[in-house]
């Protein structure tokens, strides 16, 4: 596999002394979708910023497409696109002009047909003459994506592409990312949502406090980190766990009013187990009035992960 991006010992200490990146080693290969997962302040945006020239690294080396980014940045950057986390663009500009500008800025000749194609793919074509400020938040985000695609990058960074967008747009975004992968674009995205990594990524990296804790295949990662949590409200409080539930990863909470299940592997095992648990409750004659089931949040996983690392 051809490496597209190679980071070697990449470090960044901000002037205040905060170590946002701590010797990150990472190789991303051609055509893959790589998801960078991490809680707020983990260093995801800093990592992207370092590659894209917004942040000056304080240590390590970076190579993109085989070019050293500290010396041969012009050739590398011409092939890299960035969709920033913040909605930052000239709000007074009409959509089509903003997108055409991005293409020109990256040194490509104007190409009306190409711009139209990009805008259509993002359902922005009918808004192409509108000023950006007149668009909804989700539409504005699409404009930023269109701007990043305008110079036909081979490597695309998406910094939390789905933060604050509705379900529909999120699905659209996933579709779009899939379509770009078809065209051979390598994509690196950051997210807080494990579900998103699950949906799209080939490989996942977990970053926390500037350190890349692990990089793994998505499937392997999900099996390792995914958890299902189910909260079952009982109609009668239990003093202790009945024998019928032995073998399930459950415990009592709220003075025995609630049964809490935590287990599974992020690949459906949890749901099946909860179903079995419910059957066991019914056959044991334990009444319940409500069930709340969800996949554990990334934050929960991080707590576990870091506890593991600390141990």
């Amino acid at each position: 596999m051809e490496p597209i991006l190679e980071l070697d010992g990449l470090s960044k200490t901000y002037p205040g002394g905060l170590k946002a990146l701590d010797a990150v080693d990472l190789t991303v290969h051609k055509g893959e979708i790589f998801a960078l997962l991490g809680p707020n302040g983990a260093g995801k945006t800093t990592l992207i910023g370092a590659v894209c020239g917004l942040v000056r690294p304080t240590g390590g080396t970076m190579r993109a497409f085989g070019h050293d980014l500290s010396t041969d940045w012009r050739r590398a950057r011409a092939r890299i696109g960035l969709v920033p986390q913040e909605l930052a663009t000239d709000m007074f500009e009409p959509v089509i002009r903003a997108v055409s500008y991005s293409r020109g800025l990256f040194g490509l000749p104007p190409d009306k047909a190409r711009i139209e194609e990009i805008l259509r793919a993002l359902s922005l074509w009918d808004k192409c003459d509108e000023r950006i400020m007149a668009l909804s938040g989700g539409m504005k985000r699409r404009v930023l994506i269109a701007k990043a695609l305008a110079h036909e990058p081979d490597l695309l960074f998406l910094d939390e592409p789905t933060a604050g967008v509705d379900v529909e747009l999120r699905r659209d975004m996933w579709k779009l990312i899939g379509a770009m992968r078809e065209r051979g674009v390598t994509i690196i995205l950051t997210t807080h949502y494990i579900e998103e990594a699950e949906e799209m990524a080939d490989r996942v990296g977990v970053i926390r406090k500037g350190r890349l804790l692990m990089v793994d295949d998505k499937a392997a990662m999900m099996a390792r980190l995914g958890r299902t949590e189910a909260l079952i409200d009982l109609d009668q409080p239990l003093a202790e766990l009945p024998a019928a539930l032995a073998g399930f990863p459950v415990h009592l909470e709220r003075d025995g009013h609630q049964l809490c299940y935590r287990g599974g592997d992020g690949s459906g095992k949890g749901k099946a187990e909860v179903a079995a648990l419910v059957k066991a409750l019914v056959s044991a004659g334990i009444g319940f009035v409500g069930i709340d089931i969800h996949e554990s949040s990334l934050e929960d996983i991080f707590v576990d992960l870091v506890a593991e690392q600390g141990a």
């Binding site: 894209c52 011409a78 500008y101 990256f106």
Partner: protein, 255 residues
């Protein structure tokens, strides 16, 4: 090093479009201010003033007024041009693009200088409504205006990079540029100043700019045109070097 003309052109074009979007206020306000100066100093006071160096007083102040507006507008246009993207975060795109200091400068400063030329033309046209004048060295006048516009665009660019809030953005123009321009011989010839003020005035760099432009208009001035030209070129060079250093170190542009 390769120079990316397409990128430069994109930056230039976009900056000019931004200017045209606010054309009304960016043109109306200097035209109004200049007209007021002509009415007050040219018509009201000028009638009681003697000719200066053989030039009618109302005509005498034209180069100075032009310089006054040019310095202020160029500096503020250019400093806003780079400060706003930093402030709103849109600068990310420029920083992530395959463009270096040369493309950025030629784009931004070229656009700021173009705006200044448009403005200068409008002010000169406005002046014809109030006073008859002719330009002795029109080619030099255009060259000189372009040089001054470029120099102060660079200066504004530095201000826009240096400022980290709106107050700072306005403070240098207000506390340094405006006073120096007013004392820069727009409304008087420094020969009219009593000693030692005539000598002290020569320490004010704006005096050389105003007089440089005045020479291109009327063929005479308080200081020689060569000195004015030299000072303008020197200022241009210093600003260019500072900006090159800013880009090399990423100061205030990159975290």
């Amino acid at each position: 090093m390769s120079f990316n003309w397409r990128s430069t052109w994109s930056i230039y074009q976009r900056e000019l479009l931004r200017f045209l979007r606010t054309a009304f206020q960016s043109i109306l306000s200097p035209v109004l201010t200049t007209s007021l100066y002509f009415i007050v100093f040219g018509a009201a006071i000028g009638g009681r003033m003697p000719d200066l160096g053989g030039v009618d007083y109302a005509a005498f102040i034209i180069p100075g007024l032009l310089m006054l507006t040019l310095l202020g507008e160029t500096t503020s246009n250019s400093s806003f041009g780079i400060y706003m993207p930093r402030f709103t975060g849109t600068i990310y795109e420029l920083l992530s693009a395959p463009v270096g200091v040369a493309e950025t400068l030629v784009g931004f400063v070229g656009a700021a200088a173009t705006k200044s030329l448009i403005l200068a033309a409008i002010i000169l046209a406005t002046a014809t409504l109030f006073v008859d004048y002719s330009i002795a060295h029109p080619v030099w006048a255009v060259i000189y205006i372009m040089l001054v516009a470029a120099a102060f665009s660079l200066f504004g660019f530095i201000l826009g990079v240096w400022a980290d809030n709106f107050e700072k953005l306005g403070i240098i123009p207000m506390l340094i540029l405006t006073p120096l321009t007013f004392l820069g011989g727009t409304f008087y010839s420094i020969e009219m100043l009593p000693s030692p003020w005539d000598k002290i005035a020569l320490a004010n760099p704006i005096v050389y700019l105003v007089n440089g432009l005045r020479w291109t208009f009327y063929g005479s001035s308080d200081v020689s045109f060569g000195v004015s030209l030299g000072i303008t070129l020197g200022f241009l060079t210093v600003c260019t070097i500072i900006i090159a250093v800013i880009f090399r170190t990423g100061w205030r542009l990159r975290n």
